[in-house]
Each structure stands twice: as structure tokens, then as C-alpha cells.
């Protein structure tokens, strides 16, 4: 019989895993909130890193590896990173064969651009919609397999929980049809979660509205470990907005954009002054902290507000059009000013989670039979992710998790099959939970409560973290968790009930917020995206370790511990972007 793998999530990672499974003769049931072609991966504008060395810079795969480890402030599993950077050029060639319309040089080769934290041109791009183009290529290939019968899509279905057999092995999932609201249990030989990042835990961020971390939180509550949850990337350049903070890609700086504010009546290019070696192309955590410092501590933001200029107006319009067209169009469209003529106004925003479900190098979680890949896992980026490394890690992780899921399906110690009774029990439990939500009639509104969750998380658990504030925040989030019980639904319809589903997701988001906050509280050092003024330096002695968060049923709080990880390839050294990186 064919092996059946459930893949939850059809972003780059889920689709890549799906392809690999089909090619290995397996069958996939693919679950997603939306048609997979609308997954969040398509938001990526800037590009994907791979050492192609076509710009006469003698770029090497080793340099890509070292930049990634150094950029991640020595918290990434080095053997895993090496696997990824080695594979990168091959993955680009695969995408090229699949028809991704990469931007090309005059001689028809794939063009490369600069990105943060890297001295060499290493970022491949497709105009200003690289993620969209990569996602579409995999979506198309998966559609071909769908036609051959190897893939069955469950789009507009929400993953609720995994099902374990009596040996504790994951052997299936429960999911809900988002229109008919039917809740059903499914069997699988292996389950892969590829559900993307948790941005919505912070309310306003650069991610899509479906990036809620709800699935990750659900399996965490079922025993999966979360690794390094405190490492949340704040992107330095976003357009603040009430519905979402829209990203202004790092490509703007890659193509020569300069960040400045007025100081003593004159433009002050503070990144160039503070970090002469990398200038505007310092990694994201460094740039975000500098902007925060300039606005919040030095009070030099534009008109006293939390904004700084990101300036492209000195670059020829024709060049901008070719390299950044779509991005600039977006700014004009959503803000109304033309960035070719006037400097843009931006501020840092929550963007990406380095942390996620803990996995081994093959993407197995600590629950046998359950795997995780893509932004929902914790692998590859350590304490800070370099720009354009995530389309890479999402894709690469799918090339690892897919084949490993097949191996497990064939050779793993999977224990007993789920009986019909097991399936019914699991579905019934989720049904009961859902019915209870439908009946909630307290005074709180779920969307309003979510807004408040976003406010506290943004205020206390982003760029600068202070222990006493984190304690306060943790208490506030616990209060929000209590208030969740007092939500009242306005919509009790049994058809396409978005409010009921959102209410279930919200509880998972709150639980995840506790994980991020607690892990941040416990790490008394500064490393990558995690910065505490009270502990301004990196403490390798105590904290060159992976944070592990484990769910405690009784308190609904995380238990935090630390484990060693593989850093056998390069020795840690101080990370300093004021000077050129030394090896």
C-alpha cells in the first residue's frame, strides 16, 4: 500500500515536502487555510540567498555558511546550516528549470543583489515578488501531481490537533472544514507541520493574517517542544499601519537606500556612522535597535514620532523601476507618496520568528511521527535570520522533511494503527470544544482581545526587553487568557463561521505569547534579536544553548530549560558589524 503523509501548510516548505513525497511514491493529503497558491510565502519580496558567484567576488558556499552562523550570533545548529548553504545553488537551479522568472543580467544569466549581513552579492530575485514566483513554481508542480492523483488538497480546512496512538506516536490529525464547519479525523503514516510563522501573536506585523502560530501552539500543548521562542525578528523598515505593518524590503537598502533623520538641522546617516563596515546593510536586529535608539532614546524621529527616513530618491528612477518597481508601487499605493521623489517614512516591525517547534537535523520533533519544517520550526537561523535566508530555509527544510517522512512511514517504529474508535474519540473531543465556543456569551469580543494581546506583546517583547517589564507582560497575558473565557460570540452560524474559528485560534495565540515572554524573561544576555540593556553582552558560558519550552498542563505555562546544540564547525567569535567580519 502507498504511504500516506499528511502535510499541514502549503507555503514553500509544505509544497516542497509534498513534491519530494510524491516523487518517492507516497501520497499526500495537503491541508491549508487557503488555496495553497495564496500562502504567506508569496509576501516575500527581496530574494533568496545562494552562492552562485557570478559577480566576480569569489563568493563561496563557506562564506554563506559563515555569514549565516555569524549573523545568527552562534545559536544555529552548524551542521544543519551547512546542509542548507550547500544545497542552495542546486535549489536555485531547480527553480530555474521550473520556470521561475528570475531577474536576469543583460547576458541572460540570473542576476544577484546585495542583502544585509553579507558582503557579497548572493541574493537571487524575481523583480520585487520573489516569494510569489517561487511559491507559484512549486504550486504548479504540485498541481501536476494532484492531477495524477498523488495529492489530495484540503483547502479551507483548519488543522486543530494531532492524534497519537496508545504508544504516543502521531498517527493522524483532526481538522475542520472552514465553510461546512465539519470536524473530521484523518489517519496518516507521518504528519508534517509546515504552518509558517506566529506573527499574529503580536497583532500588527508584516506577515499575513493567517500566520497565527495556532497550529504550533496546539501541538506544543500536546507535548511538542518549542525551541528558541524568544528570538523574534524585528524588521527595521516597515510602513506602520493599523491593519498591518507593510514591509519595505531590505532590497531597498541592498540597492543603495540610506536611512537617516535630521539632527541639528542636517541629515544624519546614523547607520553609516555607527557601522562604517556594513553601513545601511547591517543585519536586521542591529538596524532595528539603532532606529529604536534614535527615535525612543534620542527622540530624533521625524516630527518627534517613531519614524525615520528610508531614502531612495538619489538613485536614478529607471534603475529603481527595474530593481524595485513593485515595492515602490506598494508604497505609493498604500501611503500616497512617490518614493522615487521623496524619502519613505518607516519604523521597525515584528517580522519573523527564528524560534519554533524544536526539530532534529532531519526535522523530526520530539513526538515520534510528527515533523515540522519551514518557519514553524526553530532550525537554521539561531538568534537572528539574515535577509533572504528564509525562502531558502523554507524550501530546503521541505527537501529534508519530505524524504524523512517517507523513511519514517516505511521504517519507523510507529506502533499500533489508529482504530475507528480512536478517530471518533479525537474528533468528538474537538467537536465538544468547538460547540462550547459557539455557546460562549460573555462580554468580551475576540478581535478586541486580540488587539490588546498585540499591544502588550509589541510593547514589551520586541526590540528592547527589560526583566521587570517582561514579568508584568507575562501577568498581563495571563489575564488575557482568563478573559478569553468571557468572550461572547456574535455569530453562532453553523456555516462559514470565522468568528468561532478565530476564537479557537486566539486561545492558542495567547498560550504561545506566554512561551515567547517567558523564554525572553529567562535569557539574561543579549544575542541577536534578543536584547536586554541589563545584560548587554553575549554570555556564551551560560546561554550558548537552545531554549526548550515545554507545556505544563497544570499551569498552562511553559517550563523553560536549555540544551546543547551542534556548533562543531566554527568557533564562536564576537559579532561586530562596525568592522569587516573576520574568519
Amino acid at each position: 500500500m502507498k504511504k500516506k503523509i499528511i502535510v499541514v501548510g502549503g507555503g514553500l516548505s509544505g509544497l516542497m515536502a509534498t513534491l519530494k513525497i510524491c516523487e518517492a511514491g507516497g501520497e499526500v493529503e495537503l491541508f491549508s487555510y487557503c488555496p495553497v497558491k495564496r500562502s504567506h510565502s508569496l509576501c516575500a519580496q527581496g530574494g533568496m540567498n545562494a552562492c552562485m558567484d557570478t559577480k566576480g567576488e569569489n563568493d563561496t558556499v563557506y562564506e554563506h555558511f559563515d555569514d549565516t552562523v555569524y549573523g545568527g550570533d552562534f545559536l544555529a545548529d552548524q551542521t544543519a546550516v551547512q546542509g542548507m548553504t550547500d544545497a542552495a545553488p542546486k535549489l536555485i537551479k531547480m527553480f530555474d528549470r521550473m520556470g521561475v522568472p528570475f531577474t536576469r543580467t543583460a547576458e541572460g544569466m540570473l542576476d544577484l543583489r546585495n542583502f544585509g549581513g553579507q558582503k557579497n552579492k548572493r541574493t537571487l530575485f524575481s523583480g520585487s515578488t520573489t516569494g510569489q514566483q517561487l511559491l507559484y513554481a512549486l504550486d504548479e508542480q504540485v498541481r501536476a501531481w494532484e492531477l495524477k492523483g498523488a495529492v489530495k488538497k484540503y483547502e479551507f480546512w483548519e488543522f486543530i490537533k494531532i492524534i497519537k496512538n496508545k504508544e504516543g506516536v502521531c498517527r493522524g490529525i483532526v481538522a475542520q472544514d472552514m465553510n461546512a464547519m465539519e470536524i473530521r479525523a484523518f489517519r496518516a503514516d507521518t504528519v508534517i507541520l509546515a504552518t509558517g510563522g506566529p506573527g499574529m501573536v503580536f497583532g500588527r506585523c508584516t506577515a499575513s493574517t493567517i500566520c497565527n502560530g495556532s497550529a504550533v501552539s496546539a501541538v506544543y500543548q500536546q507535548g511538542a517542544y518549542i525551541g528558541n521562542p524568544e528570538f523574534i525578528q524585528i524588521h527595521p523598515t516597515a510602513i506602520p499601519g493599523s491593519d498591518k505593518n507593510r514591509l519595505m524590503s531590505e532590497a531597498c537598502r541592498g540597492e543603495g537606500g540610506r536611512v537617516w533623520v535630521y539632527k541639528d538641522g542636517k541629515p544624519w546617516y546614523f547607520l553609516e556612522e555607527m557601522y562604517p563596515a556594513y553601513g545601511n546593510l547591517v543585519p536586521r536586529d542591529v538596524a532595528s535597535r539603532a532606529i529604536y535608539d534614535v527615535c525612543v532614546n534620542q527622540k530624533l524621529g521625524i516630527n518627534g514620532e517613531n519614524r525615520v527616513y528610508l531614502d531612495l530618491s538619489h538613485i536614478p528612477a529607471e534603475y529603481l523601476e527595474r530593481k524595485l518597481g513593485g515595492i515602490l508601487e506598494m508604497y505609493s499605493e498604500f501611503v500616497g507618496d512617490d518614493p522615487r521623489k521623496v524619502p519613505m517614512q518607516i519604523y521597525p516591525s515584528v517580522h519573523y520568528s527564528m524560534g519554533g517547534i524544536w526539530v532534529d537535523i532531519k526535522h523530526n520533533t520530539n513526538i515520534p511521527g510528527l515533523m515540522a519544517s519551514g518557519e514553524c520550526d526553530y532550525q537554521y537561523h539561531g538568534a537572528n535570520r539574515l535577509g533572504a535566508n528564509s525562502l531558502l530555509s523554507a524550501t530546503y527544510s521541505g527537501t529534508v522533511s519530505g524524504p524523512e517522512a517517507m523513511r519514517w512511514a516505511k521504517e519507523g517504529e510507529r506502533g499500533s494503527e489508529l482504530t475507528d474508535e480512536d478517530l471518533k474519540k479525537a474528533a468528538d473531543a474537538c467537536r465538544a470544544e468547538y460547540e462550547a465556543i459557539l455557546k460562549m456569551d460573555g462580554p468580551e469580543n475576540a478581535h478586541q482581545l486580540h488587539h490588546e494581546l498585540g499591544d502588550v506583546m509589541n510593547k514589551y517583547v520586541t526590540i528592547e526587553r527589560v526583566n521587570k517589564d517582561l514579568d508584568y507582560c507575562f501577568d498581563e497575558v495571563k489575564k488575557i487568557l482568563k478573559r478569553w473565557d468571557n468572550i461572547g460570540l456574535t455569530d453562532r452560524s453553523s456555516w462559514s463561521n470565522q468568528e468561532a474559528m478565530f476564537t479557537r485560534q486566539l486561545r492558542n495565540m495567547i498560550i504561545y505569547a506566554l512561551v515567547v515572554t517567558k523564554a525572553a524573561r529567562m535569557r539574561d544576555e543579549s544575542r541577536g534579536a534578543h536584547y536586554k540593556r541589563e545584560f548587554p553582552t553575549r554570555d556564551d558560558e551560560r546561554f550558548m544553548k537552545t531554549t526548550i519550552a515545554e507545556y505544563d498542563q497544570a499551569t498552562e505555562e511553559p517550563k523553560i530549560s536549555y540544551i546543547d546544540f551542534d556548533h562543531s564547525l566554527v568557533k564562536p567569535r564576537a559579532r561586530n558589524y562596525a568592522v569587516a567580519k573576520k574568519e
Binding site: 497558491k37 536576469r104 541572460g108 523583480g127 498604500f334 456574535t490
Partner: protein, 252 residues
């Protein structure tokens, strides 16, 4: 005395399920600069009360990216199919009328079922046939950067369905495949490897509901939020299909 807050007035066409009767409800949302339609709908979610103070449910709609790339939030706003996230209140005449794109079956309120668009991509074999995702130790062919730029233009199609809604020949009474899939056919036929199976794609468009059902109304190119030159590519494709039809006749 504080000035009364500026309000934004919405008239929203609602429908409880695929077979229910449509009705309208009116809402008011506080104005703020740079407000768009999705952000307004989000405000209504926080307090679903109509303009007259009647408690109701929040309208159902689909959205993901809020950056005009995912295609999810397409709806008819003041009579024009467009992405709700990029529809700025400042650019719209009030009251703002929201309605589902009724070319597609309505699921609930503003949410519609666009399955047909994804099925169309199967019909035209919308992919480059690669042997597999493994390495083949051979680079893909180089491409003329200008041709690649055209491919990029078409490849930005986000399957939103604005062109389908605008096209007079796409409706429940017709089986016309519609502009989006035609544009995609041209895209895959342009690709140096995709081109190998050009004939299959052209043949698929000779069947019922294929390219011959295009009435050349030119609405699609006006409606496309990505400004894809749909009519230009459909015209090119039409010539290719005709050539192929002749070829088929001689080869019979």
C-alpha cells in the same frame, strides 16, 4: 466641544449561505488616514453593530497578505472588482458599497468560491514539465532578459478573479475558461522548456469554452490589478491556436 468624529459609511451586501437571499446592512467606521476597506472590515469585527445600532454578525470575507499579492480579498467595491486591502477610503466615494463578485458562487457575504480558476490551471497544464525536483547536473537554458521580463509580468497573476468578474463572457451560463488562464497559457508556452508541450496547451483551448469564447470586449485588461497586458497575450495566443488548428488538419 470636540468635533464629531469623521465616519466612513458602508453599505454591504450580505448573504448567509450559498442559497440564501441577499440583503444589505449599513455600517459606520471611524475615519483615519490611510484607512482601507479590509482595515474597515476589521474594525466592524471588533464591534459588529449596524449604523442604526442593531447588533449583527461581522461580514465574512477572505484575506491573507493585505499587500495586494495573494489575491484573496477581491470583492466588488463601488461597482468595481478589486482587492479590498488596496482600496483606500480616501479614493472612494461614500457611501461605499461592498458586494461579492457574483461571477463566482457566493459562500457567505463577501466570500466567494473561485475553485474554477484553479481547475482551469489544470486544464491548460499550467506548469513546466520537469523530470523531477532532483539535480540534473545541467543548467536551465539562459533567457533573453526582455523575454524573462514579459514572463515576470504575466507570472504576477494572483488568481484574484477581477478579470473573470469583468469579462462579459464568463458567467454561470457559459463555460468560457476566462482571461486569467489564457494569460497563463501564454506564459508557459513562452518558457524555453515549457514550450515543448505548447501543442497540448493549444489543443486544450480549441475545445468548448476555449479561446474561441473570448468576445474581445477588452474588459479584462482594464480590470487587472497587476496591469498584465491580457488582451495582447490573448491575441497572440489566438493566432497560435489558429495555426495549430490548421496544422492539426493537415496532419490528420
Amino acid at each position: 466641544m470636540a468635533e464629531a468624529k469623521k465616519k466612513v459609511h458602508f453599505i454591504i451586501e450580505r448573504q448567509d449561505g450559498p442559497n440564501s437571499k441577499p440583503y444589505t446592512e449599513e455600517f459606520e467606521v471611524d475615519y483615519r488616514p490611510a484607512l482601507n476597506v479590509v482595515a474597515s472590515l476589521m474594525e466592524i469585527q471588533k464591534n459588529p453593530v449596524t449604523k442604526d445600532g442593531k447588533k449583527t454578525t461581522a461580514p465574512v470575507w477572505e484575506c491573507n497578505c493585505l499587500e495586494k499579492v495573494c489575491g484573496a480579498c477581491m470583492m466588488v467595491i463601488n461597482g468595481k472588482a478589486q482587492q479590498a486591502c488596496a482600496a483606500l477610503i480616501d479614493h472612494l466615494e461614500q457611501p461605499i458599497r461592498l458586494a461579492p463578485a457574483r461571477t463566482f458562487p457566493v459562500i457567505r457575504d463577501l466570500a466567494i468560491d473561485r475553485t474554477v480558476m484553479f481547475e482551469n490551471l489544470k486544464r491548460i497544464q499550467g506548469w513546466v514539465k520537469v523530470d523531477g525536483s532532483w539535480e540534473v547536473h545541467n543548467d536551465a537554458p539562459r533567457q533573453n532578459p526582455r523575454t524573462a521580463a514579459t514572463a515576470y509580468e504575466i507570472s504576477r497573476c494572483m488568481t484574484c478573479g477581477c478579470c473573470m468578474e469583468a469579462c462579459p463572457n464568463v458567467n454561470s451560463g457559459s463555460d468560457f475558461i476566462g482571461p486569467a488562464a489564457l494569460g497563463q497559457t501564454h506564459l508557459f508556452n513562452m518558457h524555453p522548456i515549457g514550450e515543448y508541450f505548447k501543442e497540448d496547451r493549444l489543443n486544450a483551448l480549441m475545445d468548448k469554452g476555449g479561446i474561441a469564447s473570448c468576445g474581445n470586449s477588452q474588459n479584462c485588461v482594464e480590470a487587472c490589478p497587476k496591469e498584465i497586458k491580457l488582451t495582447t497575450y490573448i491575441a497572440k495566443l489566438n493566432r497560435e491556436v489558429n495555426k495549430q488548428a490548421l496544422k492539426n488538419m493537415f496532419n490528420k
